[in-house]
Subunit: 329 residues, 2 copies
């Protein structure tokens, strides 16, 4: 079909099925959604977007782009201890995205909606003469007053991180075919983890019960721990030797000339979508056990200090870090 | 400054002041906002965006672009009978938008935030190799279960519209210097109305009390009345002779060769940001009086029919309308 889809057809044919069973969405036949209150809960709202040529490449599969977009937003909820509820999608389509590409994009949304128990509540679609730009506004629930904030870290807290760190940056390189020193299988595993991160939503209960502060690791471990420190008016010290690394990341690390510089890369590369949090030393063990009970590793990687700033150590010596993480412009 | 602003600096210097006095926004130092419930109310959520080269031109003033973006979203709330609360801003900046342009954009937001009692709750900012793309997710409140929907129009209802229709499409032409047949002052008035629409928020109480269905007029009166009809499973008949027209629009109409075709243009051009609604004949007079009491004209322009579809009449004869309004691609 040469004519690009019009908004109403696109909503009716492709988006409406994504909003079924969501009374909030009014069948996408209205220009607003009506969200009823949930007594005893706060609504958590976060936004994350994706831009063709910045966050993904023009030849990436539309369904994977859509799924990653949902997942980075779900990761924001995971870092706040929130339960997913629904989302709004604002999207500006380039002319080359006709029906097949839009349908593939919607299939990706549908797949992850089902996987994560999420519904489409509404959105806005338009044309653009430029690259594809999409933004998700995601809604989640937390018990009233219990959103785990960046602010709240206390001197003496330990800093913990879920899963493994550095797979995001290695995965991006693997996806571009630029990663050397690892096997084909390891490279494919890293690329898959980069393309489809796994939001750590299962940590919601343990975080709300035991963490003082938390955020997801999207910009890089050092950057995101730094955001927690700044919002809390404290500092953090991170030990690069303690970084939890996947087997493929360990294999890569064994091949590099400068392992300390390599660890800095892993801790600043971003796109990991793990959760970094702080907890009192008395509760750290309990948090690790609670994470293990839901199938996730949680590793101590540092401590919270009274003095502001971020300090990074390797082999007991301080390491100068020029750039803490990914900087959005 | 040649280096483009980084996200964190831009948030701290320019956006944070827009979120002061909004505890929901956590000083924009978190990656999510926490929205507490308001007992007895539903949250109304709507999204509208703007794309450079589609909705505005590259040489339009950034503060006016920002203000119009807020206003088209506020107009969505007005059409639902909702009270403004706060908003999220997702924006993809081209490299040429440095500090001065971003600060101008933020000044526009600040001005209309103050004017409409709105606060910034959060957002997402990124770089783009393409044109500026921005999307607002706006939140408002309505008493629980009382959002005025598109669905709800009943056969026998009258169709009413606020203010005047057609100034949007004439204003766009005036802004481009392409409008002939009107005075300089009339052209300037129309262009200003196109650039800075006035969301009809004062209609909230009357609409919730008296309207069966409502929406704002963004795509064009015929298109938006058609959306109401479709969502309600009914039809509408609209009388072009009854279109409420501003003095400048009347002046323009007096110069055209085909007044019926010209009225079709006014009723399909869009960008009016008035409210179209339906009400029982018994309540129409009360709705008109209630609108007048808040300083707004409300005019009967048609009726709701049992038979689906949109029919348009002029001088008692049916007019064929090829295109009901603006179609987003």
């Amino acid at each position: 079909m040469s004519e690009p889809p019009d908004e109403f057809e696109w909503i009716a044919r492709v988006l409406r099925p994504l909003a079924k069973n969501a009374p909030e969405a009014l069948d996408l036949s209205d220009d607003a959604a009506a969200i009823p209150m949930r007594p005893g809960f706060d609504l958590v709202v976060s936004q994350d977007g994706t831009v063709e040529g910045v966050h993904f490449l023009a030849d990436d599969a539309p369904d994977l782009v859509a799924r990653k977009l949902l997942r980075v937003n779900l990761s924001d909820l995971a870092g706040k201890g929130a339960e997913p509820y629904g989302y709004f999608l604002a999207i500006a389509w380039p002319a080359r995205f006709g029906w097949p590409e839009r349908e593939a994009f919607a299939r990706g949304l549908e797949e992850d909606q089902a996987h994560f128990g999420l519904k489409l509540f509404g959105g806005d679609t338009t044309a653009t003469p430029g690259p594809l730009v999409a933004s998700v506004t995601i809604l989640g629930w937390v018990p009233a007053g219990r959103m785990v904030q960046r602010a709240g870290a206390t001197p003496g807290d330990v800093v913990l991180v879920s899963g493994t760190i550095g797979d995001g940056v290695l995965g991006l390189r693997a996806a571009k075919g630029e990663l050397v020193g690892v096997s084909y299988e390891q490279s494919a595993w890293l690329a898959a983890r980069y393309r489809l991160p796994e939001p750590r939503l299962r940590l919601g209960n343990p975080l709300r019960a035991l963490a003082h502060a938390a955020a997801d690791v999207s910009d890089g471990l050092i950057a995101d721990a730094g955001h927690i420190a700044e919002a809390s008016g404290v500092g953090v010290e991170l030990a690069l030797d303690r970084l939890p690394l996947s087997e493929p990341a360990q294999a890569w690390l064994a091949t590099v000339a400068d392992p300390v510089a390599a660890r800095v890369e892993l801790a600043t590369g971003g796109d990991d979508y793990e959760v970094v949090c702080t907890a009192s030393p008395a509760h750290a063990g309990e948090l690790i056990a609670a994470a293990k009970a839901v199938g996730l590793a949680m590793t101590e990687v540092g401590t919270v200090t009274a003095e502001p700033g971020v300090r990074v150590f390797a082999d007991g010596r301080e390491v100068a870090v020029a750039r803490r993480g990914y900087v959005h412009r």
